[in-house]
């Protein structure tokens, strides 16, 4: 039976001694959604995933996967979730096939069943020819793909991806996203993603920003970007004080980094060429561009006065 919410959490909190890793987290993630939890390193993203997948228990609060309690039914939860860890959980000395057969048996898949599923997944990832190669002989991107295949062998209801593209180059990162998209399309699973490559989360149905263990701000990526601004205006200049005096009445406070100023432009009819002329020699460079999720993060989660990324 499909549940309305694939993941629910109420007041989920994890403390390590005095340090609060996750602070009073509430989540309601609908079935089939592609959800992104975004934030800097150490914000509490992985700890949240580990609590939701029974790898660590919350200090207080509760969570449910497909309406099953994480605290009361850990084994049932593990049967219905897939988790791709931040760094590989595979045995580098075994072949791709041995790793996946091993994982399949852990999920109680019979060898014949496992064989079909492994073939199917390796076909999605284009790794059929690597099936009997040792994992150590694969590239970083291929290993990550095998890791994801391992996470979805048992067709989980919810797939957790903890920084799935960390340490990968751009082509491999794009390939991983194509695989995830294909898996979502074909298997209809709910995907819970954490990443600090914010621009990658634009495909999510909903994202939330987390900082110091607390949810800060969230929504549909496109709506967040739309609400932020029409353009982001970036100016490099020597005399930032003077330029800001001229611009802040029109655009508000900028994000200020040394000789670099960023403004939110909310009026789509702003004439940038005229602006450039009026500033004249004062600017070294001036450019305007469409905002993205990085801008949403910088403007909403980090205080605009400082623009400091924690």
């Amino acid at each position: 039976m499909a549940h309305k919410f694939a993941i629910r959490a109420n007041g989920l909190t994890k403390r390590y001694g005095q340090a609060v890793a996750v602070n009073n987290l509430d989540l309601n993630i609908q079935s089939g959604q592609f959800y992104g939890l975004l934030g800097p390193n150490g914000a509490g993203k992985s700890t949240t995933i580990h609590m939701l997948t029974t790898m660590t228990s919350p200090t207080s609060g509760e969570a449910f996967i497909a309406e099953k309690s994480v605290l009361k039914e850990p084994v049932a939860i593990r049967a219905s979730v897939g988790l791709v860890f931040q760094d590989s959980a595979l045995d580098r000395m075994m072949t791709v096939d041995e790793n996946l057969q091993f994982a399949a048996a852990l999920y109680n898949l019979k060898p014949a069943q496992a064989n079909d599923r492994i073939e199917e997944l390796l076909a999605i990832f284009g790794l059929q020819k690597k099936r009997h190669m040792k994992l150590a002989a694969l590239s970083g991107g291929q290993r990550r793909a095998v890791d994801i295949a391992r996470g979805v062998l048992h067709k989980p209801k919810v797939l957790f991806l903890d920084e799935p593209t960390i340490g990968l180059d751009l082509p491999n990162r794009r390939a991983i996203w194509r695989f995830v998209e294909q898996l979502r399309k074909e298997e209809g699973m709910t995907v819970f993603l954490t990443t600090h490559y914010l621009e990658e989360a634009v495909a999510c149905d909903r994202v939330d920003f987390i900082q110091n263990g607390k949810l800060q701000y969230g929504g549909a990526p496109n709506a967040l970007i739309r609400d932020l601004a029409v353009y982001i205006l970036e100016i490099d200049c020597a005399d930032t004080e003077a330029v800001n005096r001229a611009l802040s009445p029109q655009f508000g406070q900028p994000i200020w980094e040394d000789e670099h100023l960023s403004y939110r432009v909310k009026d789509k009819n702003v004439d940038f060429s005229q602006l450039q002329q009026s500033l004249g020699e004062a600017v070294i460079s001036l450019q305007w561009r469409k905002p993205n999720l990085n801008d949403v993060y910088l403007w909403t989660v980090c205080p605009p006065e400082t623009g400091v990324v924690t």
Partner: protein, 263 residues
């Protein structure tokens, strides 16, 4: 049993690794044979006449037990090895209670130890030190000892966080367990204090049970005492190892490496 496939997979992975490394399997035969040769001949030369020949026979249960101890302990320690290399997380996220991982590993440890004991017994028969019937008879106490050694390994593994402790384990567990067990000398001739140490060492009862199967070796305890101690200790140690391993705080370094938090 719904966890059978998972248990079989964990144990099977371990065993396939053992049999893949044939070199390791063969070298595991070298250690007991060197002991037999060096200690057997060396110490034996200090004895007189008939005692000299008898000492080699006396050593047989001890070196078979030593093979079991090393094999089972090292195999059980793969619980720590898998943690170190991250593979443990693949098992932790599986839909089984975590104690099954310990049970599967200990089954593999027992089988690995028995295979090595079997190989050694064949060698001992071939070099004429024991007869086939004694070799066969030794299989039963070997099995009980293998389980006991695996259980000791499970206990150590459940308390070890990293393989850095390996040298500590060798020095503080394997060697004392072996030397203070009656494997090399009759317990009755030890000084009083050491005798007590031997009495609280569960491995001693495995060695002693094996001595019952070898006419050249004089045993110190009754068969019933040996079996009772081995059974009670093994069950207790396995239960404690499973309990300890099921506590998540034991695995926190596995999941919080990135943030550098310590449990």
């Amino acid at each position: 049993m719904k966890n059978w496939l998972a248990v079989k997979a964990v144990a099977g992975r371990e065993l396939s690794k053992v049999f893949r490394q044939r070199g390791r399997l063969i070298s595991s035969m070298v250690r007991p044979l060197i002991w037999l040769l060096v200690i057997g001949s060396g110490v034996g030369s200090m004895l007189q006449g008939s005692q000299q020949e008898g000492y080699l026979g006396f050593l047989v249960p001890g070196i078979v037990a030593m093979t079991l101890l090393f094999a089972a302990l090292l195999s059980a320690l793969t619980l720590v090895y898998d943690k170190e290399f991250g593979v443990m997380r693949m098992m932790m996220i599986a839909p089984i209670e975590h104690y099954w991982i310990v049970i599967a590993k200990l089954i593999a440890a027992t089988i690995t130890a028995m295979v090595q004991a079997l190989m050694l017994l064949v060698i001992l028969v071939l070099i004429g030190l024991i007869d086939w019937d004694i070799a066969l008879l030794l299989l039963i106490p070997s099995f009980a000892t293998a389980i006991c050694c695996a259980a000791i390994g499970g206990l150590i593994a459940a308390w070890s966080r990293t393989l850095d402790n390996f040298a500590v384990i060798m020095n503080f567990f394997i060697f004392p367990l072996f030397f203070l067990s009656g494997a090399l000398y009759p317990v009755s001739q030890l000084p009083e204090l050491l005798k007590y140490v031997v009495l609280i060492n569960p491995f001693s009862y495995g060695v002693d049970l094996m001595k019952h199967a070898v006419p050249a070796a004089e045993s110190d305890f009754s068969v019933l005492t040996d079996i009772s101690v081995l059974a009670v200790f093994s069950v207790l140690a396995i239960v404690i190892a499973c309990w300890r391993f099921s506590r998540e705080s034991v695995h926190e370094p596995l999941f919080h490496r990135a943030t550098g938090k310590k449990s």
